[in-house]
């Protein structure tokens, strides 16, 4: 028999947990839900647009009654649980319904705080929390009537805005003199107040409520200083109190909220709690974003997967008042050791402030132009060093993209960057839905992911993601799981391989609890790379985990034949080599011979069974594999240099040959291309290579992180050096840093954008000892890498089975 899970509180946090649970362990529990409200689960934050007449109740439903029926979840809507009996493991409702549980989940949310002043029980005094409150307000809202909203925070302003839309006269009463002081600094609050006043909202700041006036219903409000204001409706929006009554009654430890640990368990291990009713590491949250994270962790533990901890959240806020753009996050007021970067443009009504400490964003407030809110929030949460773009950071992400610094603005955000705050949808989820379900329109994305389906403030971002994704494949995952075989991200897996000395795929699968017996085509090549890059000579290179091109050391073509590219060091060749290539082409009837962009010759259309013999012939003429097929060093392109060229400043060809001899054979996270140009005219196009050298009179300039391809990116200047020996050392160290730290299938360009050029400089240029160590590790691993794969196979010793049929049947 299935275990029984009972949820008390049919709200956003509780039901999100159930949804997460059903996604990972659909058959584990028999689930019963009790909700005091007579509805399905709805998006509470959208009550503001409902009040303003911009949405209907039907539009804000997350799980309607049908959903419960379809998912076999028993819902008792409109039944309040009044008792938990922990020894009997039962809950009881006001009408006497009793339900047994094996696991209990508390998600009772919070209650509006009602000021303890005389008259606070009068009809017409309400909080702003649920559908019933909205219905009460709408019934009372008549043009010309007066409403007093007590509390100038997010909730109060949204309530007042909604009521004004129905023609009511609204006065917002606030104890302090800064509106939304938990989210705004005085400047932004001032701008907000001015634009709300323009719409007709009135403010009484620094006013302390003394009493609500009226006999059988509300008539007005009186303040400490004696002032009286008429009112037909009073909305209390001065704060919320976690709803802990039930937990307290059951003897579960509570302080301000129900105390939970990092796995969302209360002091009774059978009882979990999520949402606004909980207190985690001393904090009670009042926004939805933390709930999504809590729900994920809680579901994971309910499913008994036992991984994932909730470590607290940094929150951000937007105000859902149509026509007003406002965003804030983190520590936006700063402190003595912080600096502020500010942009003010009164004519456009724009104000942006970033609070920065040690070149890392601590907080952000934006008014009037909030498109970059999600980006700043991401930089804040990841603690990104912004020194590389500090001078332009306030102009936003799009500016950096225009300046050619980034691939595409949204696409350089990591996959766990939250795009839609209302529905807790992050970028990875949207990208995945677009690629897997082949979505093409905004409406499709809304239907499948709910992103931008609520307040709509993220519509622009979602459109950008849509545009960018419908043209890209093979982006590198960030913090999301490597693939569906595991919960772990690339970085986590990599760290484990290094720190736990894992040297085989089997060890990785066992140690990290892989969900599939032997991985899949997505994780195996990545793992194989991480293993051989971390433990060269020690980890075995698993050919069965390599993509076919790397397995047979040639490029598969669309008709199933292969192309073969021998190495030509620095683009140099000889008559003998050319003759041998010509002979091979004749002998094996190779249909196409082409000169590549990397200065060598491509033989296209070779049949698979001919490969070993083709290689043997090329080997005999002294040529080796060009690795044109691999995630590895490809070519070192050169121009002729000082030997022949009248502009040449150094021996660029010679240096190119030396670099290629040093680096050939090395495996890298993605393909790696180099070039050496003999003078600043840059004939070898060194500035669009992963590693480029430009020779100048006084030495060598090193450039890194460029690529051609769909989205071209020019290199960044790394440093200038005097000798060839130094160039070799810096080149090896740079490649090794990339090999050790970039994620599989991440080219140098996105990698450098992710970690920052300053970081790369700090490792390669500024830290001499570290650089020498990287270089030494690179050379050490080359001992095992510089074995010509063609020779091994041409002699028939290695992987002969790849090239011969098993049998022939007539």
């Amino acid at each position: 028999m299935k275990e029984k899970l009972v949820l008390i509180g049919n709200g956003m946090a509780g039901m999100r947990t159930i949804e997460e649970l059903l996604a990972i362990a659909p058959d584990k529990y028999d689930i019963t839900v009790f909700g005091a409200e007579p509805h399905g689960n709805y998006n509470r934050i959208m009550l503001s647009p409902v009040l303003a007449g911009e949405k209907t109740i039907a539009e804000i439903m997350i799980n309607d009654l049908d959903w419960y029926a379809k998912n076999n979840v028993r819902l008792h809507a409109g039944k309040e649980v009044v008792e938990i009996h922990r020894t009997r493991r039962e809950v009881r409702t006001a009408d006497g319904t009793v339900e047994h549980y094996d696991r209990l989940l508390l998600a009772t949310g919070s209650n509006p705080f009602i000021l303890p002043v005389p008259g606070n029980q009068l009809p017409g005094v309400i909080g702003f929390r649920d559908i019933k409150d909205v219905e009460t307000m709408l019934a009372a809202a008549q043009p010309g009537r007066h409403a007093v909203v007590i509390g100038g925070g997010l909730l109060g302003l949204e309530a007042a805005n909604g009521l004004m839309k129905h023609g009511m006269q609204c006065t917002v009463v606030h104890l302090g003199d800064v509106l939304m002081e938990r989210q705004l600094d005085p400047v932004a609050a001032g701008l907000l107040r001015a634009s709300l006043e323009e719409r007709g909202m009135r403010f009484l700041l620094g006013a302390q409520t003394a009493a609500i006036l009226g006999e059988d219903k509300v008539r007005g409000v009186r303040f400490k200083d004696g002032l009286e204001v008429p009112a037909d409706l009073v909305v209390m929006a001065v704060g919320i109190r976690p709803n802990t009554d039930l937990a307290k009654q059951a003897g579960i430890h509570t302080e301000r909220g129900i105390v939970v640990n990092d796995t969302m368990q209360t002091y009774d291990p059978r009882v979990y709690a999520v949402g606004e009713c909980v207190q985690h590491r001393g904090i009670c949250y009042g926004l939805v974003a933390p709930l999504w994270e809590q729900a994920k962790v809680c579901a994971n533990h309910l499913a008994q997967f036992g991984i994932g901890r909730y470590q607290g959240s940094v929150t951000s806020t937007k105000l859902k008042v149509t026509g007003i753009d406002l965003f804030s996050a983190g520590n936006f007021n700063g402190s003595a050791d912080c600096e502020e970067i500010v942009l003010r443009d009164p004519a456009r009504g724009v104000y942006k402030k970033l609070v920065v400490r040690d070149n890392r964003i601590q907080g952000a407030v934006m008014y009037g132009d909030t498109v970059d809110g999600a980006w700043y929030f991401q930089l804040l949460r990841e603690g990104t060093d912004i020194s590389d773009f500090r001078e332009t950071v306030l102009f936003g992400h799009a500016h950096m993209a225009d300046a050619g610094r980034e691939g595409s603005s949204v696409m350089s955000m990591s996959d766990d960057a939250e795009i839609c705050g209302c529905n807790g949808v992050c970028k990875g989820t949207i990208v995945k839905a677009i690629t897997e379900k082949k979505l093409f329109t905004l409406d499709d994305v809304r239907a499948h992911t709910k992103a931008s389906a609520s307040c709509g403030s993220c519509t622009g971002l979602v459109e950008q993601i849509l545009a960018a994704t419908v043209g890209t494949i093979g982006k590198t995952p960030a913090e999301k799981p490597m693939c569906k075989c595991t919960e772990h991200s690339h970085d986590v897996v990599r760290t484990a391989i290094r720190e736990r000395h894992l040297t085989s795929l089997r060890a990785v699968f066992d140690t990290l609890d892989w969900k599939t017996p032997d991985g899949c085509h997505s994780c195996r090549p990545a793992l194989n790379y991480y293993l051989i890059a971390t433990w060269p000579g020690e980890a075995q290179d698993d050919q069965r985990s390599r993509f076919i091109n790397e397995r047979v050391h040639a490029n598969i073509q669309k008709d199933g034949t292969y192309s073969v590219v021998p190495r030509m060091w620095g683009g140099l060749t000889t008559p003998d080599e050319l003759r041998a290539i010509a002979d091979v082409a004749d002998k094996y009837q190779i249909p196409t011979v082409k000169v590549t962009g990397g200065q060598r010759i491509d033989l296209l259309g070779v049949k698979k069974d001919d490969l070993p013999r083709v290689w043997a012939d090329l080997n005999a003429a002294g040529m080796v594999s060009g690795h044109a097929y691999g995630k590895s060093l490809r070519t070192v392109k050169t121009c002729v240099g000082s030997d022949w060229c009248r502009f040449g400043t150094q021996d660029s060809t010679g240096l190119g040959v030396k670099l290629e001899k040093m680096t050939w054979g090395s495996w890298t996270p993605h393909k790696f291309k180099m070039a050496v140009s003999g003078c600043p005219r840059n004939c070898a196009e060194a500035t669009i290579k992963d590693f480029g050298v430009i020779c100048v009179d006084s030495g060598y300039e090193l450039h890194v992180g460029g690529n051609g391809g769909i989205k071209i990116r020019g290199t960044d200047l790394l440093c200038k050096l005097a000798t060839e020996e130094e160039v070799k050392e810096f080149c090896g160290a740079f490649m090794q840093l990339y090999r050790e730290e970039a994620r599989y299938l991440e080219r140098t360009a996105p990698w450098i954008e992710r970690v920052g050029l300053s970081y790369v400089k700090s490792k390669i240029v500024e830290d001499e000892e570290g650089r020498k160590a990287l270089y030494a590790r690179f050379l050490a691993s080359q001992q095992f890498a510089q074995i010509d794969p063609w020779a091994e196979r041409a002699s028939g010793g290695v992987d002969a089975h790849e090239f011969e049929p098993l049998a022939a049947i007539n």
Binding site: P517, C520, R544, S545, I556, H801, L806, I809, N810
Partner: protein, 111 residues
């Protein structure tokens, strides 16, 4: 036509790998999973004819090297959302030898 052909030893096929058998009906890819289960499919992906024998084998599935379609080795059927089916051939292991039948079947019920 319904003869079982001895095509070689199980150990001739690498685990998580595949070998080709040439036949009048075209190339047949014979796969061996990590648990030594053996399967045979026409060496032609239902998408654009990619050589399945060159793909990465994982579990009882293979990923086509050309555009990453994933097929069930047991039935030859593509995993959703892709739709298609590679022709499958009866194959079994007897005393360490791999035996293959040439009659082609297109659905899994007829083995």
């Amino acid at each position: 036509m319904t003869d079982w052909h001895d095509i070689g030893a199980l150990s001739d096929i690498p685990q998580l790998g595949s070998r080709i058998v040439k036949s009048a009906q075209g190339d047949i890819a014979v796969f061996r999973a990590a648990d030594d289960a053996v399967f045979a499919l026409s060496d032609s992906c239902p998408h654009r004819g990619g050589p399945l024998s060159q793909g990465i084998v994982h579990g009882h599935r293979v990923t086509c090297p050309l555009h990453n379609w994933v097929l069930e080795l047991e039935s030859g059927a593509a995993i959703a959302p892709d739709v298609g089916c590679a022709r499958k051939y009866p194959v079994r292991v007897d005393g360490g030898r791999v035996l293959l039948q040439l009659v082609s079947v297109t659905d899994s019920s007829s083995v």
